[in-house]
């Protein structure tokens, strides 16, 4: 058995926090959150197929304080994963690896996700709330 008392990767506690770490960790975290969120999509579609009563129940759950909290979280996760995912696709072409560019695109992902989620929920609020 390996001696696991030595620092093992990723030993993030030895690094000073920087935005590139945050974007990387958040990409995984939001990815996991969105994987759980797939069940919501399926639940909504199953309820829509099952009939009006089932769909009303789905809408009531999603309209509850906990439901709205989860929807806000999932929508932000979606937009963050989307923005940072596009950033990764651009980096896959070999572009944007200079450190200043890397930092700038990291901030762009974070700020962009908040802007997009704000736009979506502003739409919801301006049209008189969800459902």
């Amino acid at each position: 058995m390996a001696d696991t008392r030595r620092p093992l990767s990723p030993h993030i506690q030895v690094y000073r926090w920087q935005v590139q770490m945050v974007t990387s960790i958040l990409h995984r975290a939001t990815g996991i959150a969105l994987a759980v969120g797939t069940l919501l999509v399926v639940w909504g579609l199953l309820a829509l197929a099952a009939g009006e009563a089932a769909f009303t129940r789905f809408e009531t759950c999603m309209g509850s304080p906990l439901g709205v909290f989860l929807l806000v979280g999932w929508s932000w996760s979606l937009f963050y994963h989307l923005c940072n995912g596009i950033r990764h696709l651009v980096q896959d072409t070999g572009a944007g690896y200079a450190i200043p560019q890397f930092v700038r695109s990291s901030w762009l992902s974070v700020v962009g996700s908040f802007v997009l989620v704000a736009i979506v929920w502003a739409c919801v609020l301006l049209r008189g709330g969800a459902a």
């Binding site: 797939t38 999509v41 989307l82």
Partner: protein, 137 residues
């Protein structure tokens, strides 16, 4: 016995090293996971934005209007595409997370199989729901 071992040694010395490697190594499908993850990602950029816009357009729609929207042929088609791509991408991503952080081989394999089962179940349930709405059954 010794003689046999001796001839095996000679044979293995004469054997081209490629013989040992052929059919083993990771070179066969190494990039497959990576590439599929990217292709599904590109598809999800487009499909995801479409789903967000569609859901927003249904904000104050009643049950019948929501059902009618999903039932439109193009919407049903794109939704099915979205469901399949979403679960596929989710499995590829979760797989990497599990491989990275679950260090007990038994648990790792169990989880890898479990997410695949769940994803196929979820995808089929979602697709079937869209089909029921689209076909009006």
């Amino acid at each position: 016995m010794n003689l046999r071992a001796g001839t095996d040694d000679v044979r293995s010395q004469l054997r081209n090293p490629l013989k040992q490697a052929r059919g083993l190594g990771s070179a066969k499908a190494g990039a497959g996971h990576w590439w599929t993850q990217r292709v599904t990602a590109v598809a999800l950029v487009l499909l995801g934005l479409w789903v967000v816009v569609t859901v927003l357009s249904l904000l104050h729609a009643d049950y019948a209007a929501a059902r009618a929207t999903v039932a439109k042929p193009w919407n049903a088609l794109l939704l099915i595409l979205f469901i399949v791509t979403m679960f596929w991408h989710a499995v590829l991503g979760l797989q990497v997370v599990i491989e990275d952080y679950v260090h007990t081989r038994r648990k790792e394999v169990a989880l890898l199989v479990a997410i695949k089962f769940l994803a196929v179940l979820g995808a089929l349930a979602g697709v079937l729901a869209v089909l029921r709405i689209a076909l009006g059954v």
